[in-house]
């Protein structure tokens, strides 16, 4: 049953979540999408979707995203489910595998929702043990995603970002930064979204998620619902900009799970993510050059458009030149990783 696929590395550009209404079009059009992510649980059977994914895996780099392992369950992860995840990974040979910092199984029931943990030493020991079990079984590092939450526990002794940082330290796992989840939780639980991102160990963040959310008014309470049912809103793009400015380019997924639109809408959102990421990196390069040039001799305020043609993104050079050099910090921390122009 297992076949050998060519190893396809996920680039630090945008990809899309593969959803069933798009599979036929993906197979026939093979559009330019940096990479694909699928929910592991949808590919644990032998239905038609599995056949389709095997075909798509030949073309696209793949990320497998679990939603049902319940890494936060005090009783440990379900051995059978972990074995099913292992088989999915063996079958499709993804470049990235991720799960959530959450629990969804207790008292013998699967709740089909991701519930928050009480962030304390007891939970940390449990989650660390569960993550190690998963990494040992899959024989690979997994990325752990921050949660969108509507409640927190009064007895938590640390916040979610501190918990994740400690989890990375103990297990060597990576992180999946869901920027929309940060925005949703920060609004609902009233904390600083940017400070959350800044607390995470940046080198461990191997993937970013972007999505839309709904805004519900319940009495006097305005609550953000993580429904993945709309375009990425401006506030999430702004937070994404903050993250990329700090981290550099990262594989970035457009998630859309309810009221799924036509495929081109997802591809368009992915294009915007690439454009924004490229724009940030371009501006950083410009600022760094200006800083270096300012030392021996002054440079003209406008950047030569022709000089930047080699970046593969001339439109950004033109855009930056037209802006006549926005104020940039003179000392920028180095960013790891290569600059990837949008395809």
């Amino acid at each position: 049953m297992t076949r050998a696929f060519q190893s396809l590395a996920i680039p630090a550009t945008a990809g899309i979540g593969l959803r069933s209404p798009h599979i036929k079009e993906m197979l026939s059009r093979r559009p330019s999408a940096g990479w694909l992510e699928v929910h592991a649980e949808n590919y644990m059977g032998d239905g038609a979707g599995v056949d389709a994914l095997e075909k798509l895996r030949e073309t696209y780099p793949l990320s497998v995203h679990g939603v049902g392992l319940s890494l936060g369950s005090a009783r440990g992860v379900d051995h059978d489910h972990l074995q099913r995840l292992r088989k999915v990974c063996e079958r499709f040979q993804p470049d990235l595998v991720s799960e959530h910092l959450a629990w969804s199984v207790a008292d013998g029931a699967y709740l089909n929702d991701l519930l928050p943990l009480r962030y304390d030493e007891e939970a940390l020991a449990i989650v660390a043990r569960n993550v190690e079990t998963v990494q040992d079984t899959l024989k690979r590092r997994v990325l752990i995603e921050n949660l969108s939450a509507y409640i927190a526990f009064a007895d938590s002794s640390m916040n979610e970002a501190e918990f994740l940082a400690e989890l990375v330290e103990r297990t060597g796992c990576g992180l999946l930064l869901d920027v929309n989840n940060v925005q949703v939780s920060a609004h609902n639980l009233q904390y600083d979204a940017e400070a959350f991102i800044d607390t995470l160990p940046g080198d461990s963040i191997g993937e970013i998620h972007l999505a839309g959310h709904a805004t519900n008014q319940v009495g006097a309470d305005t609550v953000l619902i993580d429904d993945h049912g709309s375009r990425v809103p401006p506030v999430v793009w702004t937070l994404y900009q903050h993250a990329i400015s700090r981290l550099g380019p990262r594989p970035t997924l457009i998630e859309w799970d309810t009221d799924v639109p036509v495929l081109d809408v997802l591809l368009g959102e992915a294009m915007w993510a690439d454009m924004l990421s490229a724009s940030i990196m371009f501006n950083r390069k410009q600022a760094a050059r200006q800083t270096a040039a300012a030392r021996p001799r002054p440079k003209p305020p406008l950047v030569s458009f022709e000089n930047e043609a080699g970046t593969g993104m001339p439109v950004l050079a033109a855009f930056a030149a037209a802006k006549a050099g926005p104020a940039m910090p003179l000392a920028l921390p180095p960013i790891q990783g290569e600059y990837h122009a949008a395809a």
Binding site: D46, G47, W103, D107, L115, Y150, I151, A154, D221
Partner: protein, 261 residues
């Protein structure tokens, strides 16, 4: 402070509305009421699992009206939440649960149609192997009773009610007479996955028994004997041609240990 396992058990029962909500003092939600926020999780669980059931049982939804289906689904979810996170397996007990609903006691065809829909869902999640053709075995001596292996997705379902007629009537968008097909007439249905859809056919008693025996690995001789016992006019050659023609045969083998049945 509760140990984490007890806390999660208590939360899970709150989310499933099995027990009253957990104590508000355990939770925080900014300036909002934490118990109101906890109800978001209740709603997420109920609505997402209801959506799963509605996707698996679309004809049942139409038979009983969506609002009633949602009510019944909520009860089913509360009493029988998923035992695992592979939701393709959730709903197996729903047809049986429908039989316990008093309101539906005079409409047994609803639960029977749900049983057919669950069987379709099972088939759609099963493998579809490359089919063999009859000509491949022209020059092969397979002995008197070869094992005929059938598609793993093949399901055989028998009902006292005309479930396939009801199901077929609801595949068209046109308005239908809800009661026209609700007749007490036994139907034997074979169904299997073909690509991303499912094929369903009605079978007579003999052909049903024939395929049933083969599916359970009882060999050609046993299957033929069962079919002939039910219908002395059973046409073995026609049954085999139809089996291959339907793409249901995945292999034919000489049994290592001939069955003694």
């Amino acid at each position: 402070m509760l140990p984490l396992e007890l806390l999660q058990t208590s939360m899970a029962r709150s989310v499933l509305a099995i027990e009253p909500l957990v104590a508000a003092k355990m939770l925080t939600a900014g300036k909002a009421d934490p118990l109101a926020r906890l109800r978001i999780y209740q709603n997420n669980t109920r609505s997402s699992l209801t959506a799963v059931l509605m996707a698996v049982f679309p004809v049942t939804v139409r038979l009983v009206d969506e609002r009633f289906f949602r009510f019944v689904a909520s009860e089913f979810i509360r009493r029988h939440p998923p035992a695992e996170s592979r939701l393709a397996r959730y709903g197996a007990g729903f047809p049986r649960f429908l039989k316990t609903i008093d309101t539906l006691s005079d409409m047994p065809i609803v639960a029977e149609t749900a049983r057919l829909e669950w069987t379709i869902a099972e088939a759609l999640d099963a493998a579809c192997l490359p089919p063999r053709i009859l000509a491949e075995y022209d020059s092969t001596n397979l002995g008197p009773s070869p094992d005929i292996l059938l598609q793993p997705s093949l399901r055989l379902i028998v009902s006292h009610w005309s479930i396939l007629s009801v199901w077929t009537a609801h595949q068209q968008e046109a308005a239908i007479d809800q009661h026209s097909a609700w007749t007490r007439r036994p139907q034997r249905v074979a169904l299997w996955r073909a690509g991303d859809s499912v094929r369903l056919v009605l079978l007579d008693r003999a052909n049903f028994a024939f395929r049933h025996s083969l599916k359970h690995g009882l060999g050609l001789e046993h299957a033929t004997g069962r079919a002939l016992a039910l219908d002395p006019a059973f046409d073995l050659l026609a049954a085999l041609v139809r089996l291959f023609g339907d793409g249901l045969v995945t292999d034919v083998r000489i049994p290592r240990h001939p069955l003694s049945n």
